[in-house]
């Protein structure tokens, strides 16, 4: 039986107004960063969200925690629709969901002391007498592996990895149920990444957290996630349990993405059939009709340009593995590129 659903996204759309250029004439004036996404996040799991730049994953993350307001669709937290809630109504929900940011240097106010930053959640929600707060903050610092005596230091005195720990301490202060991690380790050195990933893993066990883990790094996502969703140009291309996605990806884009990851096991490299996607990801300003991936897809046919594929189980998969593709890859099938297609951007 599937676990209880903590967050449900139904056809979420997020648009941004864009200056339309006269020369284009008739071009759409709104950029759809998220163009109709439906996902569910189950209690206690880690759902990985991968995609390249411009796919809308960060925008989607911000819609979940209501840092951005969706233009259409619904965001349900624990069954309650928070898509249009006002700032006041969101108050109690803010305590239950938090966010960790990518940039350890930008996510902390350089002019504030670390203890004060971590203590923010307590102050904002009026928790605990002021004297108690300091002790709580120091407990949090110890919990994430920081020295509690550095309470009065400024962020500049800490390294990137330590700053991320500060951000994590701030996020778990009020014992939220959901933490949205927006590329939490992308800006860190490799040897530090592992430390932070382990910390997040420990905390998940200790505090019963649910994670929405956003990253462009497939290896990291593979490691931390129970299920993975692949996003392309504002839509979800595929969702599957971690192992299934990496071993039996059905969507051509997922396959291409996986094959682009450098393999450093020498044996793996020999067996590596790298699929080359032509071109750069197109701009979300003027998305292709039908399946958004079809102009770059080696398997595209006329149906793909006309009809948008639904995100449903395909090729005999169970309900856990859904793919938005008219011609998904079957088990054991490899994706081959057209030999005549040139390698260009």
């Amino acid at each position: 039986m599937t676990a209880a659903v903590l967050v449900q996204l139904r056809d979420v759309v997020k648009e941004f107004p864009v200056q339309s250029r006269a020369a284009f004439g008739g071009r759409s004036e709104r950029l759809q960063a998220v163009a109709g996404v439906s996902l569910e996040l189950r209690r206690g799991e880690t759902l990985g969200l991968v995609g390249e730049s411009g796919c809308g994953k960060s925008t989607l993350a911000r819609c979940v925690v209501r840092l951005l307001d969706p233009n259409a669709g619904q965001v349900l937290f624990d069954g309650h629709d928070i898509s249009t809630a006002s700032h006041a109504e969101l108050g109690p929900y803010r305590r239950r969901m938090q966010m960790i940011f990518q940039d350890p240097y930008g996510s902390l106010n350089p002019r504030r002391r670390v203890g004060s930053i971590i203590g923010d959640p307590f102050e904002i929600h009026g928790i605990g007498p002021a004297g108690e707060r300091r002790r709580k903050v120091q407990d949090l610092m110890a919990l994430v592996g920081l020295n509690p005596e550095h309470y009065n230091r400024f962020p500049a005195d800490f390294s990137g990895g330590q700053r991320q720990r500060i951000g994590i301490a701030r996020a778990i202060a009020l014992r939220p149920e959901l933490i949205v991690c927006d590329e939490p380790v992308s800006a860190l050195d490799v040897s530090i990444q592992a430390q932070i990933l382990n910390l997040l893993d420990e905390l998940q066990g200790e505090l019963g957290l649910t994670y929405l883990f956003i990253s462009h790094d497939l290896s990291v996502v593979r490691h931390v996630s129970d299920r993975v969703a692949v996003m392309y140009l504002g839509r979800i291309a595929e969702v599957a349990p971690s192992a299934a996605l990496y071993e039996r990806a059905r969507h051509p884009y997922t396959r291409a993405l996986l094959s682009a990851v450098p393999a450093f096991d020498p044996d793996e490299r020999r067996a590596h059939t790298s699929v080359l996607l032509t071109g750069d990801p197109p701009s979300p300003l003027d998305p292709p009709r039908g399946c958004r991936f079809h102009p770059r897809c080696p398997r595209a046919q006329s149906r793909c340009a006309a009809e948008e594929p639904q995100l449903i189980p395909r090729a005999g998969d169970g309900p856990e593995h859904t793919t938005a593709c008219h011609f998904p890859l079957a088990d054991g099938e490899t994706l081959s590129t057209d030999a005549a297609r040139s390698v260009t951007a």
């Binding site: 430390q195 990933l197 382990n198 790094d217 497939l218 450093f264 020498p266 793996e268 490299r269």
Partner: protein, 332 residues
């Protein structure tokens, strides 16, 4: 020297050391690094923040202002570190070209791509504006930019990230340099674009015999592109070997730690084994082995004396590691 084939080395660096004066003291960015590079080969320099990997190559071409540099960097027989500024400028661009992580910082936002490439060419060669422009179009086509005769008149903001990096590469190879230094060229790019760019560099190397120094923190990039690898940490060389040798049998605890702490696409969950602690400060760096405080096998000698690079040749190929316990090898 690592894996040098029969050809005479294009570049030989001996005991390079670079330090800077900062208000907090002397920062020793590079502390005695040596390596060699031959025609048509790629040397991968891998390291994290503070390893000194970028400063190493920057100091060789005179991009480090106010630094104190010692050692030798012999490029085609001439010591770059002893050249007067004017001659060094001539070497930059023709002999050694550089591309950086952020293409936007190498390109002027207010001039067209074509103009910038043409200017670069005309600064070194006596050709007319029309000839230079034609060459620019040719180069853009060569690096895989579609419809180069039209894109040549575009401005940087009209190019996507991947295309910009290609344009920068075009500018770098315009004068057919013997060495191309690529400093984290794909770090800011999506993984699919990254693999295209790496392929492009490999193709150019095969075509023109350009030697490449690939600087990165990503072992995956190294795995895809490098022939020989130099692992740096806190300004020193930790391990030097041919790529296969390094990835198959890393001998230095730091390299082993790096490989172990990285999530793998084929791995199934489980705990990562991170390297505890963080890199040391480069102002008054530790006296002994810089990795000592984070190393699980350190002995007393490690904190007092820095270990020299010694041969630990496994499979016959040259493989050196700077560790007092060279037997500490084998599978990670």
């Amino acid at each position: 020297m690592t894996g040098l084939p029969d050809a005479a080395p294009l570049l030989e660096v001996h005991d390079l050391a670079v330090s800077f004066n900062t208000p907090d003291g002397v920062l020793e960015a590079v502390r005695g690094v040596s390596f060699g590079l031959a025609r048509g080969r790629t040397l991968g320099i891998v390291g994290e923040s503070g390893s000194g990997k970028s400063v190493t190559t920057q100091s060789m071409v005179g991009l480090t202002r106010g630094a104190r540099i010692t050692g030798q960097a012999l490029f085609e027989g001439r010591d770059l570190l002893a050249l007067p500024a004017a001659e060094l400028r001539a070497v930059r661009g023709r002999g050694i070209a550089m591309i950086f992580q952020s293409p936007l910082s190498s390109l002027h936002p207010l001039y067209t791509i074509g103009w910038q490439i043409a200017e670069m060419i005309r600064a070194h060669e006596p050709v007319s504006a029309a000839q230079a422009r034609a060459r620019a179009v040719e180069l853009l086509g060569h690096v895989g930019i579609p419809r180069p005769e039209r894109r040549v008149d575009d401005y940087p903001h009209q190019y996507s990230g991947g295309m910009l990096q290609r344009a920068v590469i075009a500018m770098a190879i315009a004068l057919n340099p013997r060495i191309l230094v690529a400093d984290e060229p794909t770090t800011a790019l999506d993984v699919t674009v990254q693999s295209q760019i790496l392929r492009l560099l490999r193709r150019l190397q095969e075509e023109f015999g350009t030697a490449i120094i690939m600087i990165t923190h990503d072992l995956g990039v190294i795995a895809e592109t490098a022939h020989e690898v130099l692992v740096m940490y806190a300004g020193r060389a930790m391990e030097q070997a041919a790529r296969e040798s390094l990835l198959r049998t890393p001998r230095h605890p730091y390299t082993q730690g790096l490989l172990r702490s990285r999530p793998r696409l084929d791995a199934i969950g489980g705990r990562l084994v991170p390297i505890p602690g963080q890199p040391p400060s480069l102002v008054a760096p530790p006296r002994g082995c810089p990795f000592q405080e984070r190393c699980e096998w350190s002995i007393d000698r490690c904190s007092s004396t820095p270990p020299p690079l010694v041969d630990v040749a496994g499979d016959g190929a040259a493989h050196r590691s700077a560790c007092w316990l060279p037997e500490r090898g084998g599978a990670p």
